[in-house]
Symmetry: C2
């Protein structure tokens, strides 16, 4: 019997916030887990939608025009490409993210966290 990818076990292998780890690849995308807490910067991705699935905790995603999406565990949201957004989490939250391989997480290659594989 071969092991599947256990997302909680992957998340248990590292600390630090807003530093996604790639757990596998899918159709040219990185499937990633990340721990987040506090507020990320406003940003957008010109070339890709942004996929968020909350595995644990609570995440807010601020959107233009004062809109905010609230995501609890088992809830997901896709930010369309080009749309400004600001994720924030009052407590530590654990997420599954999907982005095309090589996409900078901040939308800016100069300030993006390095992509790490676990």
């Amino acid at each position: 019997m071969e092991p599947a990818i256990d997302l909680a076990a992957k998340l248990a292998t590292f600390e630090g916030h807003w530093q996604p780890r790639t757990v596998c690849e899918y159709n040219g995308h990185d499937v990633m887990v990340v721990k987040v807490q506090g507020e990320y910067r406003w940003h957008s991705h010109a070339e890709t939608d942004d996929f968020f699935l909350v595995l644990k905790g609570l995440l807010y995603i601020d959107l233009p025009e004062g809109r905010t999406v609230k995501l609890e565990a088992g809830q997901m949201f896709v930010v369309p490409r080009g749309v400004q957004h600001r994720p924030h989490a009052p407590q530590e939250a654990h997420l599954l993210l999907i982005e095309p391989s090589g996409t900078p997480n901040s939308g800016d290659p100069a300030t993006a966290a390095p992509r790490r594989v676990i």
Copy 2:
């Protein structure tokens, strides 16, 4: 506050097995939820990897050469494109699937379940 996509709530809106429902789109892919039970047929997808995340229950994916992957809730697996596989679930299981929009779930347009959006 805008609602996120609640995967369990989406799954509660329908019955039937092996009939995925699209909950949103992501980069030209359908993000889908599906209830499965029993054994699906051996098949492969020539043009796409196959993404499985178990939300509830237990899923096995048989692979070539007698290999089998066991997935419990919170575990995922990507079957590479072109690789034969046979999913099966002893009890009802709930999955998140991702496939390029228009991909037949059986690998065969003639026998694929119709794609439905919820």
